[in-house]
Each structure stands twice: as C-alpha cells, then as structure tokens.
C-alpha cells in the first residue's frame, strides 16, 4: 500500500468511495441490493445476535490494533452463536465514523473481521457506513441450528456437571501485560506471547459443536434423548463467574464450583498468586469459552474429547446460590455474585 493511499481520510473518498472499498470484503454475489439474501435449509432455526462497540469504551488504539479490534468484534458475535449451538451464516456490520478516520484504519478493521470469519467459513453479508462523532461498530451475526439442538441457559438441572471448554483468565492476563509491560518478568517469552494472543485473537468455540453433537448422538442410540437436548449453557464472554451465575439464575438452580478444578493457563503458576489467578479466571472475561451443563456421563466424554484445558469445574445443585469450594481447605467457601463484575453505565 503506498503512503498516499494509506494517509487518505474517509472524508477524502466519501461514503460511496468507502463502501466500494469495503465491498472487497464481501462475497460479490450478495452486493447490490437493499438487503442480503441467505439460504436457510429446511428444519433450521435462524439465530441472531448483535453487539455495539464504541471507540474509547470497548476498544482503543492505545491497546488494540484495528485488525485485533475487528477480530475480537467478530469473535464475540460468533461466540454468541456457538453458545446457542448455532453454525454461522454471516454477519452485518454497521459502522459510524468521524470524517477524520483514516481509510487504512477502516480497511485494517475489516481485515481483522474477515480473518476471523474466514477461519469459521463465514463472511460479512451486509452493512451500513455513516458519519458519526465517534467510531462505532455494530455487528449482527446470524446462524442456524436444528431446533432440537438449541443450547439454552435455562436448561440446567440439579446433578448436571458444569464443563468449561478451556482455560479461563488468559485474555485478562494478556490485557494486563499489554497495559503494563513491566509485569510478569518471570514469564517465558512464549508464555507472554500466548497470553497476549489470547487477548488479541480470542477463538470462538464453534469447534466444540460437532464434537458435542457426536457425543450426544452416540448416547441417544443407547438412551432415548431424541426429543430434548440435555445441554444447558452460554459463553464466558463476561467471565466464568458471570456465566455460571446467569445459567443458575435462568434455570432456577444453584452450583458448587471446585476451586482447583478451574483450569487456568500454566504460566500463571510462576507469575500470579493463587488469589490473583482465581480472580482473573472468574472475573477477567473475554475468554469466549463455552460453559455447558450436562449429565456426568456426557460431561466426562466431552472433556475427554476436547482436552486442552477442558474440565468439569463443578456441579449444579438445588437452591439458588453459586458456591466456590476449596477441597484443599486453603480458602473458605465463598458465594459468587455478579457485583464483582462491572456495570458499564455506572463507571
């Protein structure tokens, strides 16, 4: 890219010019009408999810390159689809931009989004670009799911095992290392890089779904599980504690988590105290793992198939509270609550 092009501002090429640039990132067959048309197969439900991200609130040029901001925005929406059991059909992107934003910044943002989408065989299928005093990114993602395979928060039952599909706390750790490079002097270079990568390029766990369906199918041949999927869940985008509390609230149940079963990055051992590591894992957020509640038998099979940090971290109980228990008795039992998270508007 020559320097003349990379220094262009949005106002230099106008809305139409910008849209033409951005069409390169869409499949050519869907361009040119008022709306995008997507084929849906018979007996499929449509799943939609939407996120709005604002410069200075949800991303910042200080800590996030435009490519990473784009990747993370796409990943968050794909993770919401995965959390419902849905396969992605595409996303729409609504973009509000000050006239002074560089065209190259916008192109890099779209590159990050499409890199993430391509990895999961999906794409940007529509959008809008408007003038705004603040850079704003509104993404809506669509997916489809067999109506019998929808994963809901409200389906957890007493006795279920709680499965996490990977480690928690890595994204938060990566952010801290970006903000405070002097931290983690004991970390190996590869560990530091991996934690930062976990923050910059989170992986929505769409790969879990075919494994989950396979395990359920082999089970349903033995028992009769045809009518209702015996899996509850959501993603851990707002933290592991939040996910478990939300599932319990929606299902009218409680939970007991076992401290030492919560899988964290190995690198935490020679950097963080146990308390810090636990706080990152429970409240850090943006790990985009799935938190699934299912029978002990299915849970064991799933964890075995997934490997790499997947674990049974606790059980669903009667009642309504979520207790963190330490089998080794180093820490007293504590009740988890959402107030240790954050509320955007009160800040």
């Amino acid at each position: 890219m020559n320097s003349e092009l990379s220094s262009q501002q949005v106002k230099d090429i106008g809305e139409q010019g910008l849209l033409e640039r951005l069409q390169r990132f869409c499949p050519p067959e869907i361009i040119g009408d008022d709306a995008a048309v997507l084929e849906t197969a018979p007996e499929q439900s449509l799943v939609v999810t939407t996120d709005v991200l604002v410069d200075g609130v949800h991303f910042s040029n200080l800590t996030t390159s435009p490519e990473d901001a784009g990747w993370r925005a796409a990943a968050a929406n794909l993770s919401d689809l995965a959390a419902m059991g849905a396969s992605p059909l595409g996303i729409t992107v609504g973009l509000g931009l000050p006239g002074e934003v560089r065209v190259s910044w916008v192109e890099r943002l779209y590159q990050g989004m499409t890199q993430c989408l391509q990895k999961y065989n999906t794409s940007i299928v529509g959008g809008d670009v408007v003038r705004s005093p603040v850079t704003t990114l509104a993404i809506t993602a669509f997916g489809q799911v067999n109506p019998n395979q929808i994963i809901r928060r409200s389906a957890a039952v007493v006795g279920d095992a709680i499965v996490v599909t990977g480690v928690h706390g890595a994204s938060k750790a990566g952010l801290e290392l970006l903000l405070h490079p002097q931290l983690g002097q004991n970390l190996k270079d590869a560990e530091r890089t991996a934690l930062i990568h976990a923050h910059q390029r989170p992986q929505p766990r769409l790969d879990v779904l075919p494994i989950l369906w396979k395990i359920l199918n082999s089970q349903s041949k033995i028992q009769n599980l045809k009518s209702k999927i015996p899996v509850a869940g959501m993603d851990s985008s707002d933290g592991l504690a939040d996910a478990i509390i939300q599932i319990c609230r929606a299902s009218g149940v409680g939970a007991v988590l076992e401290h030492r079963q919560i899988s964290i990055p190995v690198a935490f051992d020679h950097w963080l105290t146990q308390e810090q590591a636990l706080a990152y894992a429970l409240y850090g957020g943006e790990d985009f793992e799935l938190v699934l509640c299912l029978t002990q038998e299915l849970a064991s099979a799933l964890v075995q198939h997934l490997g790499q940090g997947a674990a049974i971290v606790g059980n669903i109980t009667s009642g309504s509270i979520v207790i963190l228990h330490d089998e080794q008795k180093k820490f007293p039992d504590q009740v988890l609550s959402l107030s240790q998270g954050f509320q955007h508007f009160n800040s």
Copy 2:
C-alpha cells in the same frame, strides 16, 4: 408516568436496569439467551438489512420526537425488506447512549419502533445497549422470501414499465414545514398535517407484496412465469431519481420518465412551483415507496389494484441514461444524475 421516573437518567439505573426496562418491548419467549432464535419455514430465503442512525446526523430532538425517530428507523428497515419482496421476521436494535440520556427518551424511542413493527406484525427480537458519547441506533432487520420471489435491482429489462406505488415528495415537504412553519400559508390544515405525518410516520409498503404476488400468480396461469419473477425494483428511501438510476445501473439499462406522470401530493398545487414540486419528488427522499419495473400488462394491473398515487411513471430503455421528458414541452429533456443527491461524508 410519575415525574421521578421520567427524570431518571440512564446512569441512574445502569445497563442492566435499562435492559430490563427495554425487555418489555420484546416477546417474552425470546429473552434470556445469547441470541434470538427465529423459526424459518422450508424453502424460504433469509433477508437481512442494517442501518446505523446517529444523533445530530440522522435525527435530532429539534425536529423529531423520540417516538418518530423510532418509527422512522423501523420503517426504513422494513422498507428495505419490502423492496426485496420479503416479509419481516424481526429486528435487532443496538443502542449507544451517553449516560445523561433520559430513560424516558429511550422508552419513547422504543415505543415508536414497536408501534411501527406491530402494524406489520413483527417485533424487536434482540439487541445491545452500550455507553457512547453520542446517541447511536443500529437496526438490523430480517425477513424471509420465497427464493423465486426475490425482487432485485438488476432484473429490469428494456420495455418494462416503471411503477411507483404512491406519491413522492411528501416526506421532504413535511420536513420543510417542520423546519420553517411560516411556509405553505395556502395549505389547508389537513394538508399540512398530512404532509408532516408523511415525514414523521412513513409507511413501508409491505402491503404491496401480497397484491403483487396475486397479480403475478394470475398471470402465470396464462403464461409460464414459474421460473423467474419478472419484477425488478427497490425502495425510494434516497429519492425517486436515486431509485431509478440505481435500478438502471444495476440492470445495464436506461429509462425515460414522463414528467407529468410522476405522482405528487395534491397539496403541492397550491403551494409549490412545478419546479419545486418536481425537485421534492425526485430528490426529497424518505417516501419509502417501492419503484418496480415489470411488463406493461402487469404494471397496469398493479397500478389499478393499488390506486392512491400509484402510477406508471416511465419505461426502461436501452442505453444507460435516465431522461426526464415533458410531454407538454414546458420543460426541456434533462438527464438525471446522482450528483443532485448528497454524500454524507463530504458535508
């Protein structure tokens, strides 16, 4: 609503509190998961469209009540669905808000949206609310259409008649009357009210679709039109001239419009000059009528069924230019171009 409630600001109740307030505007069965699930019938295509609206750019408290801003935003997206031949399944709403915005303002915005959606038997099925320095509204609408009935811009053929489904210029006239109340002293009160209403509460023309399919079905019994729908089109949200130029560009054809066939509100006769009336009709925008290109026979049948300002305004020709012709020779022929419209970023 008591005064204590109506003076609440968003920051007073927090993100969660606001979301709980807004859930009242959604069907209860779709609340509580990461994404909304919508049933799609077999052999239906999914249609999606998205719009971003920014305070001070696309709406303003000076000219638009929050209810009207909400109605207009919903109507614009439903109009995009109508323009594709699609029936609405729902919309998602992403909202960026400064902490100082009144809760009652947001509720009134949602009331306007849901009033419009209810009229067309659809609803808000998901959303996101975030903090932002500027009020921003990102709407994504979904619809479904039989794949054989998708209306595309690119399907116009030489010899087609160009149909408008109603009058043009009313929305622009209504806006001018709101901005400059001293205008239009010759207008009757009912005329003034009707023009302002056309601006504040535009009607997406989803009602045209069943009429169109009925006419096509009765035709296809005579001829064999099963395989391909013989209709091109889009909506006139950016003006009638823009719609015809876009259709011609996408279809690789030209057009001749007949000046006196372009239907305008009767009230224009005792207010505007012919030149002003024409400019409002061609370039005013936001009338949200459909502009359809189809055979002369189908066009005549459609206009007859629709009545109320529906008209054949011209014909598709070979070539690539759009000519405005005056049969009465009061005005010389002119070539219409998009440059008489506007580009957001250059302003």
